[in-house]
């Protein structure tokens, strides 16, 4: 299959798939070529989209699938289609809960609440309702609390290829060269001797 023929088929399939997207494997199956060829085609297509300024669309890898999306530079025009842009974004409480679940999954509600120091029932319910987290099992032992994990929609919502693409968790607060425990002790003694 020549390159143009391959590219036109990839574009057509991804156009039809819309926000469901397609995996490399599915594309290879429907176009009847090797997955290697699809990967080369996708990369060529991405180059064309991004180089040609007349294109308003581009390729994005989302939640394990490839999808066609609009380019960020046309966002201002597309945002005119949105009726109420503000009510869609997550609150800081929801984002906090979601960060905890995303990095430490699976987590129970009680574990999330311990870490945040505040009740988190409602943010969790909101996140579940928006299909960003879901029940992924039950904790061992009595109570058998619900364990929460992130969903495919979570990856989609934050524009991630897969869960490993999450930005690394911010490291512990910059420490001095001294060991923090030693520091405590010294300071502790200083405090008391002064009093």
């Amino acid at each position: 299959m020549n390159s143009n023929k391959l590219l036109s088929r990839i574009e057509a399939l991804l156009f039809v798939a819309g926000d469901e997207g397609m995996t490399v494997k599915q594309l290879a199956q429907y176009i009847e070529v090797e997955q290697m060829d699809i990967e080369a085609g996708l990369s060529e297509l991405l180059t064309q989209y991004n180089e040609e300024e007349a294109r308003g669309i581009t390729l994005k890898q989302l939640a394990g699938t490839y999808q066609i999306t609009t380019k960020p530079d046309v966002a201002d025009t597309l945002k005119k289609l949105i009726e109420n842009p503000t009510n869609q974004v997550l609150t800081s409480a929801s984002l906090e809960v979601l960060a905890i679940i995303a990095y430490k999954q699976p987590m129970t509600r009680a574990e999330v609440e311990d870490l945040r120091g505040v009740k988190s029932e409602r943010p969790i319910a909101t996140l579940a309702a928006r299909a960003l987290v879901q029940e992924v099992g039950r904790a061992e032992g009595t109570g058998r609390a619900i364990l929460y994990g992130t969903t495919k929609e979570f990856l989609n919502y934050f524009g991630l290829k897969n869960i490993n693409e999450l930005p690394p968790l911010p490291e512990q607060i910059e420490q001095d060269d001294e060991q923090p425990t030693d520091l405590f002790l010294t300071k502790f003694q200083e405090t008391f001797t002064q009093k």
């Binding site: 039809v16 966002a75 289609l81 906090e96 960060a99 995303a102």
Partner: protein, 260 residues
């Protein structure tokens, strides 16, 4: 000293503590408990309203701070200061709080990173999958993947709502095409027939949808013009009654040509 404190600016007591530590330029590994506790309590005083189920958490934290503060003020006997062993075994009363703050801070910062991803992702848009149902045999249409669960369905609904929000102006255009004047004439006449040829005007307007209300009103005007119905009012401010004048209106309907 005045505070500009809004409760929803903080997502919990730990968040408030981090805010104070940052503002007072406190070393998190050496928290002056008296100062922090005082500031914390002053801040919750300044909060105008607090949701009841969150209030208890802020109170618990205030109690914790007071407890740590008082433990640090317990006088230590002379001899113990030289005894390093006791000092080593005796943890700093602040340790647990510091660990919690540091752990919490990590995820608070991670949440900010997520927020950045959210807004970046908000710059690009996708489309619904193309409707290929017309090319598919009936029996294939509802063949879900075996792994489909309730959350997939919820997710389908969320995608739809996101799309709907994006395309409000288009959706209304389609809604209006949904029912034609001709269909609505037939419907109004059926209501009249089912009610012995007379209904109250208001009974014909049971719709929530504004376009349906307008359509029904236009339909009534059309039917009046064609003398299929007659509208009367007994006295001022009474509800209007709609009366059916022609039983057989088949011909009337055929004569109507629709724009599409």
């Amino acid at each position: 000293m005045s505070y500009e404190v809004k409760l929803d600016a903080f997502s919990g007591p730990l968040d408030l503590l981090l805010h104070l530590i940052h503002r007072l330029e406190i070393d998190i590994y050496d928290i002056p408990m008296a100062e922090l506790t005082e500031q914390y309590i002053d801040h919750i005083h300044a909060m105008q309203t607090l949701e009841l189920n969150e209030a208890s958490e802020y109170l618990v934290m205030a109690a914790t701070l007071l407890a740590i503060k008082s433990r640090m003020l317990i006088p230590i006997h002379e001899g113990e200061i030289d005894d390093t062993e006791i000092d080593l075994d005796d943890p700093d009363p602040r340790d647990e709080l510091v660990m919690r703050l540091i752990e919490y801070k990590k995820y608070k910062e991670a949440a900010i990173q997520l927020q950045e991803l959210e807004s970046e992702r908000g710059q690009v848009f996708t489309k619904a999958p193309a409707d290929l149902s017309e090319y598919m045999p009936d029996e294939q249409l509802a063949l879900f993947d075996k792994n489909v669960n309730v959350f997939d369905m919820l997710s389908a609904f969320q995608k739809l709502m996101r799309r709907k929000q994006l395309k409000k102006p288009l959706a209304t255009r389609i809604a209006r095409q949904e029912i034609s004047v001709k269909e609505q004439m037939r419907a109004v006449i059926n209501v009249l027939k089912n009610n012995g040829g007379k209904v109250m005007f208001s009974d014909l307007f049971t719709y929530e949808d504004k376009s349906m209300l307008v359509l029904t009103f236009l339909t009534l005007l059309e039917l009046m013009k064609r003398q299929v119905i007659f509208v009367e009012q007994q006295k001022n401010f009474d509800d209007l009654s709609v009366l059916l004048q022609k039983e057989d209106i088949g011909d009337e309907l055929e004569q109507i040509t629709e724009p599409n």
